[in-house]
Structures are given as structure tokens and as C-alpha cells.
């Protein structure tokens, strides 16, 4: 029998780890990896509920989230490359020209 709670707790744990990665790490690419962790955690929750309800919506949504994550990773990495060319570093604390 499917234990939906198990999947949801796991999803929550991975999501929180992803949030911590985004908040605590300074490398731009590590932050992107944290975002991917968060997206995957929500995908897991969607898939778990899709199975619990027996409907396709959850799985279709996961498909769209994966496609959007691909698009976002591509554009995010292009931004990191452009930034690296300018500032020679991927440390997000150094990108502070707009700070007053």
C-alpha cells in the first residue's frame, strides 16, 4: 500500500535542504543546484498525490515542471557565464554594484 505520508515527508526534507543550499551557499552554480533540489522535491509531491488520487494531472504537471526547469537551468547558466566573464568570479556576494 502506498504510504503517501512517507513521500511527502521526504519531499519536505529535500525541499528544506534545497532552500538551505540557496540561502547559505555563495557559489552561483551551487545555488542553481539548490533550486533544482527544490523543484525535484515538489515534483515528488506532485507524483505522490497523482498516484493517491489516481488522476493524471500530477504527472502532467511534473512533465511541465521538468521542461521549465530545463529552460531555467539553460538561461541561469548563461547568466552565470556572462557574469563570470565580467567579474571573474561566481561568488554572488561580489555581484553588489547595485547596493547603496
Amino acid at each position: 500500500m502506498l504510504n503517501v505520508q512517507g513521500y511527502l515527508v521526504l519531499s519536505a526534507a529535500i525541499f528544506v535542504i534545497g532552500v538551505m543550499t540557496v540561502l547559505l551557499r555563495r557559489g552561483a552554480i551551487t545555488i542553481l543546484m539548490g533550486i533544482e533540489l527544490m523543484l525535484n522535491a515538489t515534483n515528488l509531491a506532485f507524483a505522490a498525490f497523482s498516484r493517491q488520487r489516481g488522476s493524471a494531472e500530477g504527472q502532467i504537471f511534473v512533465l511541465f515542471v521538468v521542461a521549465i526547469a530545463a529552460a531555467e537551468a539553460a538561461v541561469g547558466l548563461a547568466i552565470v557565464i556572462a557574469l563570470f566573464r565580467l567579474r571573474e568570479t561566481t561568488d554572488v556576494d561580489d555581484v553588489n554594484l547595485m547596493k547603496w
Binding site: 504510504n3 511527502l8 515527508v9 551557499r25 521538468v66 521542461a67 521549465i68 548563461a78 561566481t90
Partner: protein, 162 residues
């Protein structure tokens, strides 16, 4: 049997996510993120979502992570600083995170969900394909547009000279 597999895979997923958070070298972090994504794909298989599992491995673990690894290696990123926080901050940060998860768990555990019984072709490619091309056709076409725009945007952003 399924519970055992779930336990093992869930542990590996959480441990590899922790490595992504903690390890200083971005390449190692990326490789452990790949492990995490493959674990999630196995969990999709346990959830009767076979098509999703295959797509997860092909797209997420096989293409997006390769892209991230490429960029890390091309930019020759060295070991980073890791989590920039004093030991008191670390302790209370970990406590806050655990508290957050505990809060979510407390909200989830009392509810008992009735799991529906599903048809035999639940989660197959045909199952998703039928709905993708009839009910969810507009989002499907929008996604193709989004991917096109993202591709063009990535090329423009990463060019040396416009």
C-alpha cells in the same frame, strides 16, 4: 519489500542532497545531485509513473546536469568556501531547518489519505500522451514556445560579442 526499497532510496536521496549542501567542491556537489535525481526517478517508479521516471533520467540527470557540469568545468571553478557561517549560526540554522521540517510533518501525519486504485496503464507513455495532446494541448504548445525563447536567450546571453 516496497517499503524497504523506499527506505533505502529515500535515505540515499537525503544524504546526497546534504552533500550538495555541504561539500565545497561544486563538481562533487553536481555528481551527488545526479545521484539524488536518479533516486527520485526510482521513487517515480515506485509511484507507478514509469514515463516520468524515464523522462527524469533522460532530461534531468542526463541533460540538465551534464550542462551544469560543462559550465563548472569550462569556468574551472575551484573549491568554494562552503557555508559561510560561524558555529553558533550553524547550530541554530540546523535547528531552524529541522523545526521547519517537523512543522510540515506535524501537518501531514494526522491526515489519512485513501489511495485510489489505478488502471493498469496508469503512468505509461500512452496515458500521458493522450491527455497531453487533448486536454493539456495549450500548455504543451506554450512549453515549446518557452523552450524556444530559453534557447534563444541562452545563446544571446552567453555570446562574447552580440
Amino acid at each position: 519489500m516496497e517499503v524497504l526499497v523506499f527506505m533505502v532510496v529515500a535515505t540515499v536521496a537525503v544524504v546526497s542532497a546534504m552533500v550538495v549542501l555541504l561539500h565545497k567542491n561544486p563538481v562533487i556537489g553536481a555528481l551527488f545531485l545526479v545521484t539524488n535525481l536518479v533516486c527520485i526517478a526510482v521513487l517515480y517508479l515506485l509511484l507507478d509513473a514509469q514515463f516520468l521516471a524515464a523522462i527524469q533520467v533522460i532530461v534531468y540527470a542526463g541533460a540538465i546536469m551534464v550542462l551544469i557540469l560543462f559550465v563548472i568545468m569550462l569556468l574551472s571553478l575551484k573549491r568554494e568556501e562552503g557555508i559561510h557561517a560561524g558555529s553558533a549560526q550553524r547550530f541554530f540554522g540546523a535547528l531552524a531547518a529541522t523545526g521547519f521540517v517537523a512543522l510540515i510533518v506535524r501537518g501531514i501525519l494526522p491526515i489519512s489519505w485513501r489511495v485510489a486504485s489505478v488502471r493498469s496503464d496508469f503512468g505509461t507513455a500512452e496515458f500521458i500522451g493522450r491527455r497531453l495532446f487533448s486536454q493539456y494541448f495549450y500548455p504543451f504548445e506554450m512549453i515549446s514556445l518557452v523552450l524556444l525563447v530559453a534557447m534563444a536567450g541562452a545563446v544571446v546571453l552567453a555570446k562574447k560579442k552580440l
